[in-house]
């Protein structure tokens, strides 16, 4: 009850933010761009293969890059911003618990990211239809749902950080560090380890198990696996293709949902734990 009231209020409030509208427009542009480029490439190669899947593959790139950023941007001020401005005093002056606030914020902000994803992908559908004259609705919907899960994951991470810190500056530092870690450092360190251990930068698959595990740990790794779980992609999105015949359980598509669930629950639990104990 309380959670829903907060989520509704928060959604209304955040939807009126210009930054958010700019992010939605940006994401829509990327999906159209992705759809265009992929259909062009398919056309050039004269590829008569599974076109809708190719297009989804093309959409995965902007989605796996932009949705995390949108999720983090939408979420990082959720609680720290209210603490900083003092509106949290108004919010907690009403009969809401701090847990209601954390959960309500996650719901409300996830609603916002959902709007971004739905608009972006709806525009994408229209574009694909315009370029190719066809698309696969079922696969498109499945891909949209998995992407929503990715959005929820990053909103949870951001709200967790926001709940744990008292200032938006520190929350911003937190999310920028996270982006730096997962977008730059993680892949680089992985490559470095791979080189040190196998002596080759691009070894032939199958990759060693430790590298597969290392690759699925970030939320993006979980997203790839989860996409493979709901689409007939043959492990193209996740690390499945890199594994040998004997695929370890953590490189199987279903494990993507486990990874995402951990990334949703743990940051929120830690953030709430800190937030519930602090003097406001």
């Amino acid at each position: 009850m309380s959670v829903i009231a907060i989520a509704k209020k928060d959604f209304r409030d955040a939807m009126r933010s210009w930054v958010l509208i700019a992010l939605i427009v940006l994401f829509a542009l990327f999906t159209v761009g992705g759809a265009y480029i992929s259909t062009q490439i398919a056309g050039l190669l004269g590829d008569a293969g599974d076109q809708p899947l190719d297009i989804l593959f093309a959409l995965q790139t902007p989605a796996s890059f932009l949705i995390p950023i949108i999720g983090l941007m939408v979420g990082y001020k959720a609680i720290a911003g209210e603490r900083e401005s003092g509106s949290l005093k108004f919010l907690l002056g009403l009969p809401h618990s701090r847990r209601d606030v954390v959960l309500g914020k996650v719901l409300g902000r996830t609603g916002v990211v959902t709007v971004a994803i739905v608009i972006g992908f709806a525009v994408g559908i229209v574009a694909i239809f315009g370029f190719t004259g066809s698309f696969s609705l079922v696969e498109y919907l499945a891909f949209t749902l998995v992407t929503l899960l990715l959005g929820l994951t990053f909103v949870s991470i951001a709200v967790g950080i926001s709940a744990a810190t008292g200032s938006t500056t520190r929350a911003a530092v937190g999310i920028v560090s996270l982006i730096g870690l997962f977008w730059l450092l993680w892949g680089f360190i992985g490559q470095l380890l791979l080189y040190l251990i196998t002596g080759s930068i691009v070894p032939e698959p199958p990759m060693p198990d430790w590298y597969l595990l290392y690759s699925v740990i970030p939320p993006g790794g979980g997203y790839g696996l989860a996409a493979d779980a709901v689409l007939p992609t043959d492990g193209q999105f996740g690390v499945g293709m890199l594994a040998g015949d004997d695929v370890p359980f953590f490189a199987e598509p279903w494990f993507g949902f486990v990874i995402l669930a951990v990334w949703i629950i743990v940051p929120l639990a830690l953030g709430y734990w800190r937030f519930s104990r602090v003097d406001l």
Binding site: K9, K89, F90, G93, L94, P95, S97, L280
Partner: protein, 305 residues
């Protein structure tokens, strides 16, 4: 029955002592004015009542509940106007009240509340464009939702013009007459003495005085300083005057006597001096006002955050 009860409450922020061993009782159905300079610990006390902060030691009870365990139960029955709050700039006044009504699970009419706090014409404007006084009125309106049994108002007159402050006092009285208990803080005496049934003065995290407004006023107006200039001071004037119960102190500076006494012995003092052979050339009296008492209690305190 006590609506609010603090017993031996201490609150430390790092090395700073915000409250030390505070005892405070607010009885049901009264208007309690919580008075003190900025930094005395008023907001800290209120934060403890709302579970925005937790006490270092001591017990806090609101309606007999511990805010740390049953904060929601308390806040369901309480209307709160916090200090230093902010609202949601992108939402309208009406949307704020709708949210508060939904949060409290009641079905009040936002229109009537907006009317009551005097911002009905701004109902559908975004709060980002409100003045400080309008935001204060809106937050008060939100606090009034659901006819709470207790109203906690932290510096409620902040940002209000004199007319706004008067409206605020009217609403506070109406709420008390409805049966609510009102606990409000202020650093300005003038806002408190007109409406309060009881006043507590906080200084450096401790209660230094507590009484009814009349009680405090009597206590202070009783104290008078009488300065009498005579042609010559009678030899045993000091001893003579100190025999009266109402005279507490006599100091002699040349031909002037400075007598601390209660108001009703002023003429007796003058008569006695005349009887002893002195001629009164001039005299002044200094009555200490409630304002002076407040200043005396609170001046010299350091501003703490």
């Amino acid at each position: 029955m006590a609506t609010i009860e603090l017993t031996n409450v201490t609150k430390r922020y790092g090395d700073t002592m915000a409250l030390s061993d505070l005892d405070l009782t607010v009885r049901k159905g009264t208007i309690y004015g919580f008075l003190g300079p900025n930094g005395a610990g008023k907001s800290t006390t209120i934060n403890l009542l709302l579970d925005f902060a937790r006490p270092t030691a001591g017990s806090v009870r609101v309606f007999g509940h511990d805010p740390q365990d049953e904060s929601r139960t308390i806040r369901k029955r309480t209307g709160i106007l916090p200090e230093g709050f902010d609202l949601y700039d992108r939402l309208t006044g009406r949307q704020h009240l709708d949210f508060a009504i939904e949060s409290k699970g009641v079905d009040d009419d936002p229109e009537a509340i907006l009317e009551r706090v005097g911002i009905a014409e701004a109902a559908d404007r975004k709060v980002g464009g409100y003045s400080k006084g309008m935001a204060q009125r809106l937050a008060l309106g939100a606090a009034l939702i659901g006819e709470p049994e207790l109203l906690i108002l932290d510096e409620p007159s902040t940002g209000l013009d004199p007319a706004g402050a008067r409206d605020m006092r009217t609403i506070i009285r109406e709420e008390r007459d409805r049966g609510a208990t009102i606990f409000f803080s202020s650093h300005i005496l003038g806002q408190v003495d007109a409406v309060c049934d009881r006043v507590g003065i906080l200084r450096d995290g401790a209660l230094v005085a507590e009484d009814t407004v009349e009680g405090l006023r009597e206590a202070t107006s009783a104290k008078t300083t009488l300065r009498v200039t005579v042609d010559q001071v009678p030899e045993n004037a000091s001893e003579q005057l100190l025999t009266y119960a109402g005279v507490s102190e006599v100091a002699i500076e040349d031909t002037t006597l400075v007598v601390s006494c209660e108001s009703d012995v002023k003429t007796t003092v003058l008569d006695t001096l005349e009887t002893e052979g002195a001629t009164v050339q001039d005299f002044t009296t200094e009555e200490s006002s409630l304002e002076e008492l407040f200043m005396a209690y609170t001046e010299g305190t350091e501003v703490r955050t």
